[in-house]
Subunit: 350 residues, 2 copies
Amino acid sequence: MPERKPKVLVVGSGGVGAIGALCLTLNDKADVTLVVRSDYAKVNESGYSIKSVTYGEHENWKPRHIAKSVADASERFGEFDFILLTTKNIPDGPITCEDIIRPAVTPRTAIILLQNGLGIEKPMIEQFPHNVILSGVTLLCSTNINCVVCNSLKDQIYLGAWSNLNIKNHAEKEQSAINEFTRIYSNEYNKVFIDENVEKTRWEKLLYNAALNSTTTIVNLDVSRCQIAGANNELFRPAMREIVAIAASEGVEISPETVEKFIHISDGQFYSPSMCVDARKKQLFESEIILGNPIKIAEANGVETPVLKTLYTLLSMVQFRIKEEKGIIKIDENEYRNTNSDSYPDILKK
Amino acid sequence: MPERKPKVLVVGSGGVGAIGALCLTLNDKADVTLVVRSDYAKVNESGYSIKSVTYGEHENWKPRHIAKSVADASERFGEFDFILLTTKNIPDGPITCEDIIRPAVTPRTAIILLQNGLGIEKPMIEQFPHNVILSGVTLLCSTNINCVVCNSLKDQIYLGAWSNLNIKNHAEKEQSAINEFTRIYSNEYNKVFIDENVEKTRWEKLLYNAALNSTTTIVNLDVSRCQIAGANNELFRPAMREIVAIAASEGVEISPETVEKFIHISDGQFYSPSMCVDARKKQLFESEIILGNPIKIAEANGVETPVLKTLYTLLSMVQFRIKEEKGIIKIDENEYRNTNSDSYPDILKK
């Protein structure tokens, strides 16, 4: 009897999730299920069209299993050894990541957060206190627009344990999960870095996301146009310096060279970060994990972050506008007519 | 022979200019010319439709003279004792206020700046070193949309001298101009306050404009929605505190009560400030005199203004986007392809 292949559920079928599912399928060391929500019928019929600098071109490609929802996946193809979570992480949106994956989490499941932002591991451990949680950072540059997937940077994943002290011998179990996932994911085209300090890697990537994603989203301009308008010195570097200060207050040292790397990483590209693209499409974006959580840490540690707080407040207002446009929040103007503006009901907490 | 009435040229036929011309015409103590640029044919044909809480309703109203341009006005109806300047003040736009009025300025002309913002008197004195310059703040709330003028607050003007040391006996001449304008403008419906400290009045009005106009413009939300989203504590008060600090560094004391007055002045109104309305219409707005100039003063005086600087940079980027959309600036992306983003050509200074 052949050895049972580990079962992997990929949640999130955007650019990162589709490429992750493709890689695992090509390697053929795992049994892959991909959750495909809005595009299910289309993908079931004709699959994806993929152009990847890492894995080549694939027409009408789909993984072994696709499912309409996490619950559907769990019923038909569980139980899963790994959940590879690649969705946006929007705790202030209609559903949290924890609730999204809940139907598929079993005691054996290691949960890999291949997502941006800071502070995303804690709520996951709170909700699933006895599961192994791995934290991953990808530098893959990949989009999925109407089932056409374009990946333009080599697939590199930084993967580390997020110590879960609830688990007996947690380090050993976490290391075992890292090794196993690295075994089924690695091939000659990609690179999985086992990251002893994935927290630092997250802070470093946050330099870009906190400064550039937020600014481009607020003003609806690509990175290069912001820079032509003077953003490097007036906004990007001041915002990044505050990120460096918060990280330092957590014992994470970020070098000036790393700051400059991210200042220049989009030079001449006229690139619009995904958050800015989401806002243009009137989709919710990750303001809490990109700015809200770092600011909470700053406040707890007594670090001043006036620039980040201003960006965060403005970004939250853009998100507020989009939520109202989408009908996620509704404002009855009459409710506010004779009210002191310091006592306005906080509709976001309703 | 009857006494010669003072000639007044009103420049700017928005809500403030139209009401100013109406008041002066009704009083019949001045010979009024209004410059009407884009709407000239329409106003010449059928005048304005005015609903004013101060001056009542007027259909098909127009002042004695209208002119297509300042030069046209000067040729046909000059020379003017007063220029009442009510346009937006956009030094970074296609034409400065100084250049707008230049064709009509003669040695006898007193120039009244009935405009928002800070630092608008200095360039005026530099360009017209021997003219009397008066500085005015209006709390009139008035719009002109397609020649329909709606004025919803009582017409009150704070008027003061802006000492022009180039003029011999300047205080006397300035006071004489104030008295004369007050005489021709005042009536039983309005109020002209002779303001010994118009600089302070400007700083106070700036509290609202710097914090609320800029925020609503950047995020495209009205004031009340910003407040529902938490703006009072997260953004408006921090920005206003910085304005208070800059004013203090100039010897101008603003009370906490004044801050609170402007925080609450739009409570429950779901009001969109004119800057926000301009941005929605893709028109340029007054980012320099509302934020740029106060920040320059802060830098000269060593006052930290991280919130205002962040708002200013973002607001300038929104203006940048509108300038590109209007074709005022053009970006050739190829020019930037292989360039370090710290060395991008500054297209705004071209």
